[in-house]
């Protein structure tokens, strides 16, 4: 313990003594060259804790030579904080270093070295300029000889290349300053205003470097009247005395002016009246205007090109229906013709009809729009006409054609919203995405996907895209075809959807995976699955009220359930309960608009998976309209459904 303690104490003592005794001086800090041409100044700052008696010494050397550091004679033991090394650093082609250290009594600080320095890095300056006046032209001669003690340094020895000069011409009366670029040491400034005083200063510049420069002192000259006989004298002497005019000269009076007799009348009275004050424009204004015009022209041109580019980018070509749909379109058009002919279709525009249909279902929030209350009284007896599959799909427009008075009525009407003639729900199972006529709304959330009960895909297995929620005819959304299928198996035809009860719980059947099982959510509970609207939502609505579902599997055709529509009630192929799958399953039979239609009902009518989810409450509300189903009403139902779709898709582009 004791030895260690002793050692420790010794160490501490040594340390302290070293600190205090052989104290190294702190060297100068921030040692740098602050140089301008022919005046290369080395500067530094004293170190911390610098004492008052500190002295400094300076050394320098040339880079790349064998010579070591050389002392600077006139910077030895100085107390100032700067040293002029111009004399030792004259060669512009060489690189120099300098170093400084502090000396105090017997102690010296370590050397502090600068970075490299070359005379070409020194900031630019000129001695001055000499002006002479001829008429309204000023002749300027720059003075490039710089003096450093008894040295003479030529500016153009230091900066040999790409020299140029910025000439600042200031008009004394209003202080407007013009900047002119010149590349020679002698030049003229022409086209000045008569009877005006100008002050000129020059700033040197080197094009290939970014280097600091200092402007020369201003020299002023006054231009007399055009008719005056005053003529500038040559040489520099004339103006030197007047260099200090400054603002005072403006008045052109005072005795000092008389010294500048070469240019100024000493007495105001003798000045001729100003003549032609505005004839000549200041040099450079024409250039300024030209540059402004050209730059604005170029800018406009670029903007125009950019605008055209944007326009071309954003103009969309009309979207052509996919070829897959073309056949369906044809079919739908055919169907439409048929419909119109058969029903003496009203002139109403299908689309308008759609809107009409749409009105109703506002009240009920139940997804299947069974509109709670007045819903579907027809639960049982309603029967949708059996539509052939393609007819079904085309119902939209066709339905309209039928005089969808029902749509306009408060009935929800099952507006089978087949996208007007877009889809032809041909038996081909392919789901056809149908476009809502109204908008070419591809981007609308209502991806009414194909209404046709396609067996395939649209059945995004009950994943009715939320966008299509409320889409009556979302073929794609198809009522969870998969689910539907399951359901179908399980579901017996219940006759009319409970929806008629009006309280259709949405999402009755989570198992179905129908997001929207609202439609299916008939009060019947599981039975509501029947109602799985496999077909267009309109059908759902229909199903709610009056659709008689007769699934192919379920041979029970509840025709009796259908309301006495009078028309031959043929079970439609709509399989409310079952999605795509076996088309034959459900046939919503309701008042068929016409026998032929019914005949066309094919089991696979509802192939298109039809997602109940697309039914929003609005649609469900239309279900009450089912009650008014009749052949005509069938159309209206369609229309309603379609309109519901429209309405639902308010937020979508529809």
């Amino acid at each position: 313990m004791a030895p260690s303690a002793t050692a420790l104490a010794l160490c501490v003592a040594l340390f302290l003594t070293r600190r205090t005794d052989g104290e190294m001086l702190e060297g100068p800090t921030d040692v740098r060259f602050v140089a301008e041409i022919a005046h290369h100044l080395l500067r530094w700052e004293p170190g911390h804790n610098a004492r008052s008696d500190v002295r400094y010494e300076v050394e320098h050397r040339v880079y790349g030579t064998n010579f070591s550091w050389m002392a600077t004679p006139n910077c030895r033991n100085i107390s100032e904080l700067s040293c002029d090394l111009t004399y030792y650093t004259l060669d512009p082609a060489l690189r120099y270093y300098a170093r400084v250290r502090a000396v105090a009594r017997n102690h010296t600080s370590p050397w502090q070295r600068t970075n490299s320095f070359s005379p070409r890095e020194a900031s630019l300056r000129l001695s001055g300029q000499s002006l002479s006046l001829t008429g309204n032209t000023i002749h300027v001669q720059l003075q490039l000889l710089l003096r450093a003690g008894n040295l003479t340094v030529k500016y153009d020895d230091v900066q040999k290349h790409t020299r140029r000069y910025w000439v600042y011409v200031r008009r004394a009366q209003d202080n407007r300053t013009y900047k002119v670029l010149k590349t020679t040491p002698e030049f003229n400034i022409t086209n000045l205003f008569w009877d005006t005083e100008y002050c000129i200063s020059v700033e040197p510049d080197v094009a290939s470097r970014r280097i600091h420069a200092t402007r020369t002192d201003e020299h002023c000259v006054a231009i007399g009247g055009r008719d005056s006989k005053w003529r500038g004298s040559q040489g520099r002497g004339g103006l030197v005395g007047c260099g200090s005019w400054g603002a005072g000269v403006r008045t052109r009076v005072a005795a000092p002016c008389c010294r500048c007799r070469a240019f100024m009348p000493c007495a105001l009275g003798t000045l001729p009246a100003p003549s032609h004050p505005g004839t000549s424009s200041l040099a450079g204004s024409a250039e300024l205007v030209l540059s402004i015009v050209s730059s604005s022209f170029i800018t406009l041109l670029l903007l125009g090109l950019l605008g055209a580019l944007l326009v071309c980018t954003y103009i969309k070509k009309p979207v052509r229906p996919p070829s897959v749909l073309k056949s369906f379109i044809k079919q739908s058009s055919l169907w439409m013709e048929q419909e119109s002919s058969s029903s003496g279709s009203p002139d109403a525009d299908p689309i308008q009809q759609l809107f009409l249909c749409q009105k109703e279902p506002q009240q009920d929030s139940s997804p299947c729009g069974s509109a709670g209350t007045a819903q579907l009284p027809l639960e049982k007896g309603w029967r949708l006409p059996a539509w052939p599959e393609d007819q079904l799909c085309l119902l939209g427009p066709g339905a309209v054609g039928r005089g969808d008075s029902s749509c306009t009525s408060t009935d929800s009407g099952i507006c089978l919203h087949t996208s007007s003639s877009e889809l032809s729900c041909s038996s081909s199972p392919e789901p056809q995405g149908y476009k809502r006529q109204l908008p070419t709304g591809d981007d609308s959330g209502v991806g009414l996907e194909n209404i046709c009960p396609g067996p395939t895909g649209s059945s995004s297995s009950g994943t009715a895209s939320p966008a299509v929620a409320g889409q009556p005819c979302g073929g794609e959304f198809g009522l969870s075809p998969a689910a539907g299928q399951d359901v179908q198996q399980a579901v017996e035809f219940r006759g009319y959807l409970q929806q008629s009860k009006g309280t259709v719980e949405p999402r009755q059947d989570p198992a179905r995976g129908v997001p929207f099982s609202g439609c299916a959510g008939s009060p019947q509970g599981p039975g509501s699955t029947d109602i799985v609207l496999d077909f267009e939502c309109s059908e759902l609505a229909v199903a709610k009220g009056y659709l008689k579902q007769s699934s192919p599997e379920h041979p029970h055709s509840h025709a009796q359930d259908l309301p006495p529509w009078g028309a031959p009630q043929e079970p439609t192929a709509w399989d409310l309960s079952s999605p795509v799958g076996p088309r034959a399953t459900t046939l919503l039979s309701y008042g068929a608009p016409g026998a032929p239609l019914a005949s066309k009902v094919s089991p696979e009518l509802l192939k298109a998976p039809f997602d109940l989810s697309i039914f929003n409450t609005d649609i469900l509300e239309t279900l009450p309209l089912i009650s008014s189903l009749s052949t005509n009403k069938w159309h209206t139902l369609q229309i309603n459904a379609l309109s519901l779709l429209n309405g639902d898709s308010k937020d979508s582009r529809l």
């Binding site: 050397r61 880079y63 790349g64 030579t65 064998n66 070591s68 082609a93 060489l94 690189r95 270093y97 970075n115 490299s116 070359s118 070409r120 040999k160 290349h161 790409t162 094009a207 290939s208 470097r209 970014r210 170029i298 041109l301 670029l302 090109l305 950019l306 055209a308 580019l309 071309c312 980018t313 103009i315 070509k317």
Partner: protein, 178 residues
């Protein structure tokens, strides 16, 4: 869309044209060879790192480019040859060995190297067109430069050569601009 493509091309061309017009390139004459060099760009890049790079070079008694006035008094006909050799030297032996730990400096070095690359290509074209004939004197001078370079270890030599870039640029200005 054809229309938009066309406009896009027009637009980009006009922008490029604008940029080119405003670029500060100068034409250098090394003998019969005319080369366009953006001296301002190279200098500004070098000035940003000059102090740092030169501080990394502790050897002040030896210079690679300016011993003894290697680049002085080069005949006009030899200037292209020496310039060509020097640019090859910098591209092959200097820039690639000058990796520092500071990414800013590395970026600046890369930009200088890019500018040098384009100049080197033009000089090679001149060489292929027989505009860069090498005389005896220029060959000797370049050999001296190589000797100076090889007298140090690779990294130190590279850093030193990079620090002497201003000497090279000054010389180029002196000999290339009439």
């Amino acid at each position: 869309m054809k229309g938009s493509n066309l406009f896009l091309r027009l637009f980009s061309m006009s922008c490029l044209l604008n940029l080119m017009l405003t670029a500060g390139n100068k034409i250098f004459h090394f003998g019969p060879c005319r080369v366009s060099i953006s001296m301002t760009e190279i200098r500004s890049g070098f000035t940003a790192i000059k102090d740092d790079i030169q501080a990394r070079d502790p050897i002040r008694t030896l210079s690679i480019l300016s011993y003894p006035h290697s680049l002085h008094k080069v005949k006009s006909s030899d200037r292209c040859c020496i310039t060509h050799h020097l640019f090859n030297f910098y591209m092959d032996k200097v820039f690639k060995h000058c990796k520092t730990e500071d990414s800013y400096i590395n970026r600046k070095i890369s930009s200088i190297a890019n500018s040098f690359l384009s100049v080197k290509r033009k000089l090679e074209q001149c060489h292929e067109q027989n505009k860069c004939m090498c005389g005896q004197e220029s060959t000797e001078k370049f050999k001296q430069i190589l000797v100076n370079y090889e007298g140090l270890n690779v990294t130190s030599a590279a850093i030193k050569s990079l620090g002497e870039l201003d000497i090279l640029l000054d010389w180029m200005e002196k000999s290339g601009i009439h």
